[in-house]
Symmetry: C2
Subunit: 326 residues, 2 copies
Amino acid sequence: MTVNLGIDVGGTGIKGAAVSADGALAHRSERATPAQDMDAIGGAISDLVRELADRCERDGQTVGAVGVACAGFIDASGSTVLFAPNLAWRDAPLKARLEASVGRPIFLENDANAAAWGEFRFGGARDADDMLLVTIGTGVGGGIVSDGELLRGSEGIAAEIGHMRVVPEGIRCGCGNRGCLESYASGTALVREARELVSGGSPHAGALSDLCGGDPAALTGQMVTQAASAGDPAATELFADLGRWLGEGIASMVALLDPELVVIGGGVSEAGDLLLAPTEAAFARQLTGRGHRRQADIVLALLGNDAGMIGAADLAARRAGAAAGE
Amino acid sequence: MTVNLGIDVGGTGIKGAAVSADGALAHRSERATPAQDMDAIGGAISDLVRELADRCERDGQTVGAVGVACAGFIDASGSTVLFAPNLAWRDAPLKARLEASVGRPIFLENDANAAAWGEFRFGGARDADDMLLVTIGTGVGGGIVSDGELLRGSEGIAAEIGHMRVVPEGIRCGCGNRGCLESYASGTALVREARELVSGGSPHAGALSDLCGGDPAALTGQMVTQAASAGDPAATELFADLGRWLGEGIASMVALLDPELVVIGGGVSEAGDLLLAPTEAAFARQLTGRGHRRQADIVLALLGNDAGMIGAADLAARRAGAAAGE
């Protein structure tokens, strides 16, 4: 049996697993991310790949392709990390470095693209041909599959959907611009709004204030989710606001892409209907041509944090096959 | 020699021509559009196709495929006009109707998609693999080519780029929503702003006021272009405003699509650098990740009003070939 390896490089951890042809995971393992040190991160990835390959081979499995998903702009050839905001990589030749260290071909992919491919092949969009993944975590990311193919763009950096501008002269974004969707529809935005609410001392914010012991800086996204799940009106409103921005942003993306299905993933999507219901309502109210077109379904992602590993492994297998002329 | 026929159905005229394999046009002909009468429009298209086919055959040319571009949502199978705002068609089975009348296979396409394909194959983007066409006319339309293929979307109605929302609670759009790009970056927006300026009686609007004899309702887009071309500061500012909205909107689209090239077409693009210069400046200021990526070029369309006919004919030839298993 041949398995492929999928690695997902995040800001705090590097996760890896063997992925079978039907998307199932085995031999999970993990390393801490040596932050801000490109050489050390490369070393940790190589070490993880070697560990996984050894474990697979001891189990009698053949290791096929190796895919590595990481945040940032990956160039069109899948060789170089052009820019990774949270990892301090600039024009880093990660593919060549890993291949030299591991002795196997490595295929790089942007983490949101890899997650989109995972959801497309084995998750929430496994029955669709055209899909858009929107991930709501610290930031807003995404991936696009059009007619069964990942849309990577000319430079390999398509689907930077968190950086569509939704408000002229709006809130400053980490990318340097103002008014990006990410500044309104991310987990960071949710916490910012919740902290402002608590800081204001409104009696409406009582439950949130209690959860953080009256210290706005101690408030987390999990606390907001917890309060909303328990029925707190203020926390529920914060999710409603986030969902409205998200649904309206999705309406713009659907005007461009006309996907069959929109899949919502990322940590904040674990709030489920608290997020999905206002998102769907805003989308239905904002989609251009509504009433004269089928309205794309919006569903929750199914693969959670495994989507990137699964997608990276499956994309690597496809690319290795294509490279071999299969 | 085999030629394909391209037909472009507009709100006032139906144009057609024979299109050779290298995109050259011959045997141009035209009919007036019998507005709001679906049966009569179908009859006029059929009549035009028969005329063109007769003329080609008299010249010893074989007529291959027939492509028809028209405004509106065309379904994914290319059979039905789901919704055409300016032609009053709703779920109109145009393909079947034309085929019954003409006795040849007909391939329908949205007019902006057809124009994008024309520019991609033979016009401003003939050397690109990934491109975005933005047409600035009465409205704002567009077409997307990704990795050499027209991106039609799951329902065939992708690239409705004029209906991305750029201003929450903004100006009402013809689509029913508020704040669409079309409400800020179209020829209609240009004329609206110019008329407001003249109505206000500002001395700054003197040249524009003179051109329309002091009657704001008589002011046209051509007059604004004429004044700007002659160096009138107020008219130049109106183009600068339009270009800013356009360039900022393109930055959002490029964040999603990462095209190699953006082609600007449509009637307003005839203003050339008056539009292009502020568009490029705003795009360069707004593109996310600038400095860490190649900046897509923005160029003017080359095929003018012929792009739709050329693209419709070439797409029809490809689809006829695919249907025949070539």
